[in-house]
């Protein structure tokens, strides 16, 4: 089966007037189905730029990117929006939920844009909230929830459309340690159910929950290692 994500020498150059920033330099990376990849690296090393490109929020300046075997080169904005809707689930550092909107409606949102009929939409959204343990909070407004709960709603929103991959850019960046481990436990659970995850983090402790770790430096990949299974080596949530 083809890789979920496959980049061949993708580069990203930001140029504004005189200034020219090479945020990514010929990065080639593949993520196979069911993998749980963590990305680390100093601030400004290109992690977010890479995530934006594999999330189809942006296109590379050069190189090729295949998502589930489909090359995104030259795709229209509409086609990219379609891919984001069907194949990608985002989890952000700042949660990015719609305020004054219930948890349920937030989770339903991707399905609305995916033109899923209302009844089916509701059932799927409730199921997704159940997966993150928030079924009883579905009518709560997002801005009345704690950070950890908000991030769980965001995860439910990311997985409700049954995407090929979940992309999380520093999902625990705004959370305390205990809450972070709760979130990571959810990611691990999802991953065990076969969902492919790519996650950016600063913290080695958080990266330790993943199966594979890539380190970026100055827009290039510095290292790419398989991690031992956390459950086998005892690096489970209790030891954080």
């Amino acid at each position: 089966m083809e890789d979920v994500v496959r980049t061949i020498r993708i580069s990203k150059v930001y140029s504004s007037g005189e200034q020219r920033v090479e945020a990514l330099k010929e990065v080639s990376l593949s993520v196979e189905r069911g993998d749980f990849l963590s990305i680390m690296g100093a601030s400004g090393s290109g992690k977010s730029t890479f995530m934006n490109i594999i999330g189809c929020l942006d296109l590379p300046t050069s190189g090729d990117y295949w998502i589930e075997g489909e090359n995104v080169r030259g795709m229209s904005k509409n086609a990219l929006a379609e891919i984001r809707n069907r194949k990608i689930g985002f989890v952000f550092q700042g949660f990015n939920l719609l305020s004054r909107t219930s948890a349920l409606e937030n989770v339903e949102l991707p399905l609305i844009y995916g033109r899923v009929p209302a009844v089916k939409r509701r059932a799927k959204a409730i199921a997704a909230l159940e997966m993150v343990g928030l079924a009883d909070r579905s009518q709560h407004y997002s801005n009345q929830m704690s950070g950890g709960q908000q991030q769980r709603v965001a995860i439910a929103r990311a997985l409700v459309g049954e995407p090929s991959i979940i992309l999380a850019d520093e999902p625990t960046g705004n959370l305390d340690t205990a809450t972070s481990s709760e979130i990571m436990a959810i990611f691990q659970k999802l991953n065990r159910q076969g969902i492919t995850i790519v996650m950016v983090t600063h913290e080695p402790d958080i990266a330790a929950f993943s199966k594979r770790n890539v380190v970026f430096r100055d827009g290039r990949i510095l290292s790419d290692v398989q991690l031992p299974d956390p459950t086998e080596t005892g690096r489970s949530r209790g030891n954080l």
Partner: protein, 408 residues
């Protein structure tokens, strides 16, 4: 389904900022209210003028003694006693385009009944006159040709005269004195209302022409008339009638190239047509001024929508990240703008109708509210929403999702 969803999002957005939504709407409310009220008042005015024109009679030429030059009046028109009863008879007989020629003499007089008296206009007429004026006698009888030829001292009275002299008494058969001469009231005229010049047309007494000439307004020229009213057979015949009257009277008055005309023919319908045109122009102008306020309201909508797009940049970014397409975002903001203007339009419509009714009630000014005007106003308010909402909506749809997500 998409539209329903956009509608729900829009309602939520508008409700989350009630005061601002209302103030934004206010521009449209005032604009639409102004358009509806102004058009209602303007069409009311047009209607009055049209009715007044109809009350004069249609396809009318007025022949006055005296002459005009192209530059203006030479003699005061009507000053020289040059038109005669026989001129009128000749026009009636010989001009093929003329339906009726009605000679008239006119004077002011005091009219007395019992101990009541009333100053009014007394006109000497022939039976044709009230046909030309399309003015029925509602009680009693008309002036007859034999009344005219026999100089009988009969009279018809208008509603205003009847009310002031007789009150609720039946005037038919009663004897009134006009300049001390006794006249029998034989007929009561239907209510006619105001003339385009604003005079009360019902404040009038009609007597047979010959009677007026010989027994009431005796002058040194006993056969002359003050004016002749001519009705053409149809609107198409009007110009031909004017031509025929000119030729005939020039012959009868022996007007040659060396002598100026001693009479003037005026096309009354034309003069009144100008009045109608100006009242139409007036209502158009009122509507145009009101439309400007609607445009100002639209600019207000645009302004607030731009603010709203900026405020909700992050929300737009989130929606884009999870798969909203350009047209989804566009639709969301367009629906919001149209909803604002439509609600404003409906409220404005209610206010405008109420305003027009108020003007009617307080200033006794007839207003005309047509369903067409209302539909147009509401449709127009929707169009204002689309027009002024388009740019902000497009701006939202074209945001870069990454930058929008990063927006604080």
């Amino acid at each position: 389904m998409e539209l329903l969803m956009s509608l729900r999002i829009a309602i939520r957005a508008l409700r989350s900022n009630k005061m601002r939504s209302f103030l934004t709407m206010l521009g449209i409310i005032i604009g639409i209210a102004a358009v509806i009220a102004m058009v209602a008042i303007g069409s009311g005015a047009s209607k009055i003028v049209s009715e007044q024109i109809a009350s004069i009679g249609s396809n009318i030429l007025l022949i006055l003694p005296g002459s005009t030059t192209s530059g203006g009046l030479r003699l005061p028109t009507g000053a020289a006693p040059t038109l005669t009863y026989d001129d009128a008879r000749a026009i009636q007989k010989e001009c093929s385009a003329v339906a009726y020629a009605a000679p008239v003499v006119r004077g002011a007089a005091q009219i007395i009944y019992g101990n009541m008296n009333w100053s009014t206009v007394v006109m000497g007429i022939t039976p044709e006159y009230l046909l030309v004026r399309n003015w029925p006698v509602i009680h009693g009888r008309h002036i007859t040709p034999s009344d005219v030829e026999g100089s009988v001292k009969n009279c018809l009275i208008g509603q205003t005269v009847a009310t002031n002299l007789f009150g609720s008494e039946d005037p038919i058969g009663k004897i009134v004195r006009i300049k001390k001469v006794p006249f029998t009231v034989v007929g009561l005229l239907d209510q006619k209302g105001q003339s385009p010049q604003g005079t009360d047309q019902d404040d009038i007494v009609y007597i047979p022409l010959r009677t007026a000439q010989r027994k009431l307004f005796g002058t040194q020229f006993p056969n002359t008339v003050g004016s002749i009213m001519v009705q053409a057979k149809s609107e198409q015949d009007l110009d031909r009638a004017e031509e025929q009257v000119n030729v005939l009277l020039s012959q009868r008055h022996r007007i040659g190239p060396s002598r100026d005309q001693d009479f003037t023919v005026r096309n009354l319908s034309e003069i009144l047509g100008v009045a109608e045109q100006s009242s139409k122009a007036m209502s158009f102008l009122l509507g145009a001024v009101a439309s400007i306020s609607l445009i100002v309201g639209g600019i207000g909508i645009m302004n607030i929508m731009l603010v709203s797009v900026t405020e909700r940049t992050r929300e737009i970014g989130i929606r884009m990240a999870i798969g909203a397409k350009e047209r989804d975002i566009m639709l969301q903001f367009l629906v919001e703008a149209v909803l604002l203007t439509l609600i404003g339009g409906i409220l404005g419509m209610a206010l405008g109708v109420a305003g027009a009714k108020l003007v009617s009630a307080f200033f006794n000014w007839p207003t005309l509210i047509s369903a067409k005007a209302i539909l147009m106003a509401v449709g127009f308010s929707g169009a204002v929403g689309i027009f002024f909402g388009f740019y902000p909506a497009r701006k939202a749809a074209l945001l870069n999702p990454i930058e929008a997500l990063r927006y604080e």
